[in-house]
């Protein structure tokens, strides 16, 4: 027993070093799997504040581009206005259906909450975005984030006033998406090299794909269906399988993103509970 204590005392430096290494590595591997780490909430709040200060300067230099993006979105939304459309034949009477349409609160499925981006990176292989909206402002873990141009990412960490978002430009990001024209569904990933190129896999070779086609979020993704993900830039047939591997240009410009919308799926709990119950039934 005495020898053990003597040994520890003699090599205390080394023992301490090994303990520190074990702590660091376990934090790293745990975070890579679950996106949880000790003090991440508190630290996120702190680093978010500093990034906010920095962003105040950075934002100024991107005002022009941000403005353009917002004007484009406004134009797009204005084109959807009901009073801009006329019935083709004015002699017919327009019958307004008495079924309640989804503009009523009760049938709303997705709620969009604007948020300011305070920190954003595109240079690492695991890129995250920090937004200045958190638990107190209604953001929760696993909510999805879209921009005016297309989808952005998923909320993975929330503190009181800040949240971190895993962007599409992250090796761990997987988004189920489909071709807008024909509807085949595949998975969008990023290989970590070029922030201008995403990859869409698992599109069968029977699909008709052309360069320039739009890819949108699919119905089984957690994003609102039909949001733009990217545009096809190259079509490559995988030799050993029956699938295409498509290169996409992301719809969202991640280089100067300043405003995003956090999307709350109001039926998520119900859907999750139902699917879980069904799965349980299957197992029995």
């Amino acid at each position: 027993m005495r020898n053990i204590f003597l040994f520890i005392r003699r090599y205390f430096n080394f023992v301490f070093f090994v303990i520190i290494q074990i702590v660091a590595l376990s934090m790293l591997f745990k975070y890579n799997r679950f996106h949880e780490a000790a003090f991440m909430g508190v630290a996120g709040e702190f680093t978010g504040r500093i990034s906010e200060k920095y962003n105040k300067v950075e934002y100024y230099f991107q005002l022009k581009k941000t403005n353009e993006a917002l004007v484009n979105e406004n134009a797009h939304l204005r084109n959807l206005l009901k009073q801009d459309f006329l019935p083709s034949d004015s002699t017919q009477k327009i019958v307004i259906d008495s079924i309640r349409i989804d503009s009523l609160e009760r049938f709303r499925r997705y709620l969009y909450m604007p948020a300011k981006v305070v920190n954003n990176s595109v240079t690492s292989q695991t890129n995250y975005i920090t937004i200045s909206r958190g638990l107190k402002q209604g953001v929760q873990k696993d909510m999805t984030v879209v921009s005016s141009e297309g989808i952005v990412g998923t909320v993975i960490n929330v503190s009181n006033n800040m949240a971190t978002v895993m962007s599409l430009l992250n090796r761990q990001s997987r988004v189920s998406s489909s071709l807008k024209k024909t509807g085949e569904t595949g998975t969008v990933e990023w290989d970590g090299n070029d922030p201008q190129v995403l990859t869409l896999r698992n599109i069968p070779k029977s699909a008709r794909v052309n360069i320039g086609d739009t890819v949108v979020s699919g119905i089984n993704s957690s994003y609102p269906p039909g949001q733009a993900v990217g545009y096809v830039t190259a079509v490559e047939a995988e030799k050993s399988s029956n699938f295409y591997s498509l290169s996409l240009k992301p719809a969202t410009n991640f280089f100067n993103i300043q405003f995003v919308y956090v999307v709350k799926n109001l039926q998520k709990e119900e859907q999750d509970a139902l699917e879980k119950a069904t799965h349980k039934q299957d197992l029995q």
Binding site: F12, F16, A24, L25, L28, M40, S121, S124, T126, T164
Partner: protein
């Protein structure tokens, strides 16, 4: 300015420079990322004990980790070089009582050649361990090898530029 205050200011300055300047640079040729922050660990005073070196290294790395959202990655490699630092200084610095006569490692206290070897070896170890941990998650062997050597080259270049820009004159202290 006291040593403690100087090192606290350096702590904040290195973190901010790494996070808001160097990490904003797009990776050269797709994969070389410039690292300068670990120079902080190389510049800690000679008089610090091994335990506190490792602990400061861990804390410093972890602070950067919370900014880059990779908890543990930089902390592991920083505590590794903090642990290995005293061995290397013992080998490189031969004349007696060096640690008592100067406060911290610098070209003017160690001489240029030992200082360059010191920087090269530790930045190689730091980058190798950092890229290795990254490689465990993805990438192939050539990617790993190429990245280690090129990142070490860029780090060395950055450290030498910093060293010549902010020349630190080390005073020779005697007891008399």
């Amino acid at each position: 300015m006291s040593e403690l205050l100087k090192n606290i200011i350096r702590f904040a300055a290195f973190i901010l420079v790494q996070v808001f300047i160097l990490n904003k640079i797009p990776p050269l040729h797709g994969f070389i990322s410039p690292y300068l922050y670990f120079l902080y660990i190389l510049l800690l005073p000679f008089s610090m004990s091994r335990i506190s070196l490792v602990f400061v290294g861990f804390l410093f790395g972890l602070t950067l980790d919370y900014f880059t959202k990779t908890p543990g990655l930089h902390a592991a490699s920083c505590s590794l070089i903090a642990y290995l630092r005293p061995f290397l200084i013992n080998v490189l610095v031969t004349h007696e009582g060096m640690g008592y006569n100067y406060t911290e490692p610098a070209p003017s206290s160690m001489g240029w050649t030992p200082y360059i070897v010191y920087v090269l070896v530790l930045s190689f170890i730091h980058n190798a361990y950092l890229v290795f941990l990254e490689w465990l998650q993805f990438g192939n062997f050539w990617y790993f090898l190429g990245k280690v050597f090129s990142t070490t080259g860029i780090s060395f270049l950055l450290i030498m530029i910093t060293e010549t820009l902010f020349y630190r004159k080390q005073k020779f202290r005697t007891n008399t």
